[in-house]
């Protein structure tokens, strides 16, 4: 336990060190007299932009809108991926049915659907959530299927010789044995959700973090652009940390946990 805490605090200190170094170098560069603040705004400007947007409420509104889209798209996409991926990975006939379809659709980047979705559904909230859902589903389902296919045969055999029905083998062996893959699927889905969120908001939104980015570019508010990028980075980082906590909890049994 003690050793673990020591290890963790060392890790945190070193991690902070690299972030601090980047900030220090940025501060140094922007404090030079020949620096163009329109391209590289000083840190104080970025903080001011943060404060202005925070107090005016626009930042929180944007954050709320974006987080809603991410959560909705992520939850729907990964849930569908989990259900369908388990079925495809476990039942041969369902695999034969869906596999060609998934293999054909998989290489298409989700952003390519944006024009079609706008034509079909307009630029409303539904379209944005739909794009994120598709992106999350596609990256997640592949991992769930791989997890189901990689269940060691000896575990299945052991369970069935102890009297487990096919469905019991699925529930008590295949799903737990596949959890490392499933969790990986969820994590890459989360990353995909952020990517598609910003892209869809850049293209078609009246609010959200991507919209604030777009606004910053249009009015040359470089400090605002920088500030939003950092907010996105921070949010994605926090979510990933939460995810790792969940992962560590679910994967206590695994030899390869962090």
């Amino acid at each position: 336990m003690n050793k673990n805490t020591a290890f963790n605090s060392k890790r945190v200190i070193l991690g902070c060190l690299s972030v601090a170094a980047v900030i220090a170098i940025y501060a140094l560069v922007t404090s030079r007299p020949d620096n163009n603040p329109a391209l590289l705004p000083p840190i104080t400007d970025i903080i001011t932009s943060f404060w202005t947007n925070l107090t005016s409420g626009s930042l929180l509104t944007a954050l709320g809108a974006s987080l809603f889209r991410i959560s909705a798209g992520f939850l729907i996409g990964t849930t569908l991926a989990l259900v369908l991926g388990c079925l495809i990975g476990w039942y041969r006939n369902i695999e034969y049915l869906f596999d060609p379809l998934i293999e054909a659709v998989r290489p298409i980047p989700p952003l390519a659907y944006i024009p079609l979705i706008i034509i079909w559904f307009g630029i409303g909230e539904f379209s944005r959530v739909l794009i994120i859902t598709i992106a999350c589903f596609m990256v997640c389902v592949v991992n769930v299927i791989a997890g189901m296919k990689n269940v060691p045969a000896v575990y299945e055999d052991a369970a069935s010789t102890m009297g487990a029905t096919r469905f019991q083998v699925f529930r008590t062996v295949a799903v737990p044995a596949a959890t490392p893959f499933i969790i990986t699927g969820y994590r890459v889905a989360l990353a995909a959700a952020w990517t598609t969120l910003v892209a869809s908001e850049l293209l078609a939104a009246q609010n959200g973090l991507g919209f604030l980015l777009q606004e910053g570019r249009r009015y040359f508010l470089t400090d605002q652009v920088m500030m939003i990028i950092m907010i996105i980075g921070a949010c994605a980082f926090i979510m990933d940390r939460i995810f790792r906590k969940i992962q560590a909890h679910l994967m206590q049994w695994s030899e390869t946990r962090e």
């Binding site: 575990y155 055999d157 369970a159 010789t161 009297g163 008590t172 959890t179 049994w253 030899e255």
Partner: protein
């Protein structure tokens, strides 16, 4: 009581394909009810294949396999198997592994705890009930495997080189423990091993197989009295059997 009868059994992997491989050829065997049987033979002679077919994991390409005059078809909890590979579920603690079978059949929490207590004790894993399998040594994991199958209370126990990877002392201790547990319930056991001494020490009947394709080469009845003791390993009778089998396998 459970008697296994194997008649004219032949098995060919990939039948009809260019790379087909006949692994077992015309096997005829009877394993009497409540007896302890060993199968010895060189690597690749089809011992695991035979055992898996008895478990019902796949069907022979020819011939039949019966348990009490009923053709073996599919897996059944009456035929428990300890696999050659490590089959302990890494996502369950030791005690959850042990009570896996009863849990499948909806055993109550109290029943599960009772079974867990009984069998972790019986296989010498007391104090490790709540450990993850990754925290155990190879020999301890094998004990979990064995305890889990025993806790499921099958009529027939199929064991595929369960002690293959253990050091000599641990192995001998586990052999004695196994005989003790078996003596209390008298299940029909089929025990595959490479180790002649192990086969003689444990079994009433030893099936010696020859390789490529696997055939029954010889059947040795071991008349050493029971309960068996470690001292018997040094008796003349024991050593004579060992020499006879050893010469057979050498050919």
């Amino acid at each position: 009581m459970p008697e296994i009868r194997i008649e004219n059994l032949t098995h060919t992997f990939g039948k009809g394909q260019p790379n087909e491989l006949t692994v077992l050829d015309n096997i005829n065997l009877t394993f009497e009810s409540g007896s302890f049987n060993a199968i010895v033979g060189t690597s690749g002679c089809g011992k695991s294949t035979l055992l898996k077919m008895m478990a019902g994991l796949f069907a022979p390409s020819d011939g039949s396999m019966k348990l009490d005059d009923q053709i073996i078809q599919g897996t059944d909890r009456r035929r428990g198997m300890v696999f050659q590979q490590d089959a302990v579920f890494p996502w369950m603690t030791v005690s959850k592994n042990i009570s896996y079978g009863p849990r499948l059949r909806g055993a109550s929490a109290a029943e599960q705890r009772e079974i867990e207590a009984k069998w972790t004790q019986a296989v010498g894993l007391k104090g490790f009930e709540n450990r993850w399998p990754r925290e155990l040594s190879g020999g301890m994991r094998k004990r979990v495997d064995i305890g889990r199958v025993y806790a499921n209370d099958p009529d027939v126990l199929l064991m595929d080189e369960p002690f293959g990877a253990l050091d000599a002392q641990t192995k001998e201790r586990m052999q004695s423990d196994l005989l003790e547990t078996w003596g209390q319930s008298r299940k029909t056991v089929v025990f595959v091993t490479h180790d002649l001494e192990e086969a003689i020490f444990l079994a009433d009947k030893i099936v010696v197989m020859s390789a490529r394709p696997g055939r029954v080469h010889h059947i040795e009845e071991v008349s050493l009295p029971r309960p068996r003791t470690d001292a018997m390993r040094l008796t003349d009778e024991f050593i004579q059997i060992k020499r006879r089998l050893w010469e057979m396998l050498d050919h």
